[in-house]
């Protein structure tokens, strides 16, 4: 209590804590973040909090406006689509390279993930499916050896938490995405680079389609009454 987190340690801790709070819905888009409050609740110094906020702003998760503090950035459907288009471009690259560069261990894990995904869908294990989905994307990127793409994909995903949440809840979504994921796995495992790129593109085109159809009339509607 008496010694608050400071410097690099506190910075990392606070940034992670805010990222987590965002994922779990404790922070909502547009919400204001007050330095003193954060310092108090996370047991860090204001300096550490300030630096953490700067980091998150660089990741485009927050928006800092001078003299007015930090807010959780709102991502429009249009921007979410653009983000996903960029993800598509980079993941095509990764899938393609993974198809030629993945080692035996990685190919084996991919096969395992495919089998587990099938089972998760038939069992209705949505949480497990979601975790496998995440692992699949990670593994393809890792197998590609494309560090630069990995960093940029991480950055792209930062502001997307809200939409991932929304999409994952759509009924029938896993059943729809399963064949796409299996196609990516097949292509990478069999070393067919062009097919891997096409499969990744097809999958993300579908995500974009989902985003389009999730568009609500207006992100921030004028409320009926004040």
């Amino acid at each position: 209590m008496t010694d608050r987190l400071t410097g690099a340690a506190g910075r990392q801790y606070v940034a992670d804590a805010i990222r987590y709070a965002l994922r779990s819905g404790d922070l909502v888009p547009g919400q204001r973040l007050v330095e003193n409050d954060l310092a108090e609740s996370y047991g860090a110094t204001r300096g550490a909090v300030r630096e953490a906020l700067q980091d998150l702003a660089a990741e485009e998760i927050l928006e800092i406006v001078p003299r007015r503090g930090a807010r959780v950035r709102t991502v429009s459907v249009e921007e979410a689509i653009q983000i996903t288009e960029c993800r598509s471009a980079l993941e095509q690259l990764c899938a393609q390279k993974a198809a030629t560069r993945a080692n035996e261990e990685q190919r084996a894990e991919l096969r395992r993930i495919g089998a587990d995904m099938r089972r998760a869908v038939t069992d209705g294990a949505w949480d497990a499916y979601s975790a496998l989905n995440q692992r699949l994307h990670e593994l393809v990127i890792e197998a590609s050896g494309q560090e630069v793409a990995r960093r940029h994909l991480d950055r792209l995903n930062g502001p997307m938490v809200r939409f991932q949440f929304r999409l994952a809840l759509r009924p029938g979504r896993p059943a729809q995405s399963l064949p796409q994921h299996l196609a990516i796995i097949d292509a990478v495992v069999s070393g067919d680079a062009p097919a891997a790129a096409r499969a990744a593109a097809a999958h993300l085109d579908d995500v974009i389609e989902q985003l389009r159809s999730s568009a609500v009339p207006s992100p921030t509607q004028a409320p009926p009454r004040a």
Copy 2:
């Protein structure tokens, strides 16, 4: 001296100054940046300098190691290739979208750039060609309306200054890249999205080829201390 640049203003100014110093070769990879010196020479406060350094580190132009300060990051040929692969992926996306979305004014400017490029090559006007090259890439991105891709492409280019310098100096390079640039222009102007993507890919594949053949044993060693 009496009033030093501070806060957001100084931060921006110092960051720009360092970026410029890097482009013009005043700062070389591996070189150490001392906060007090920078504050002194740019007439900013140490606080402003610190924040500028953080920004540049976030852009992967500098590397900050705790308690040891900031250094100009060295980019290996391997990383330069990975960066260019990512550029390729994103510029394919932009070229493709530009082909369908560019307005008349933008298509007209593209045609003009194409004509000017031809002339610059026959005239041996290398500086002019380089400027046109940059404008071409900018314009394609702008016409695509892909703001997210634009931001990420900016970030990708940050650490590449050293290589751009090296490649542009290769004799016969403009003559080699001219037809590739013209192919991009033709495809975008005529609205052929797949061709635009292919042309962009071909151009950047060639840049990667150049990078591969430019590989030297060891890029640049840490310079003697200041």
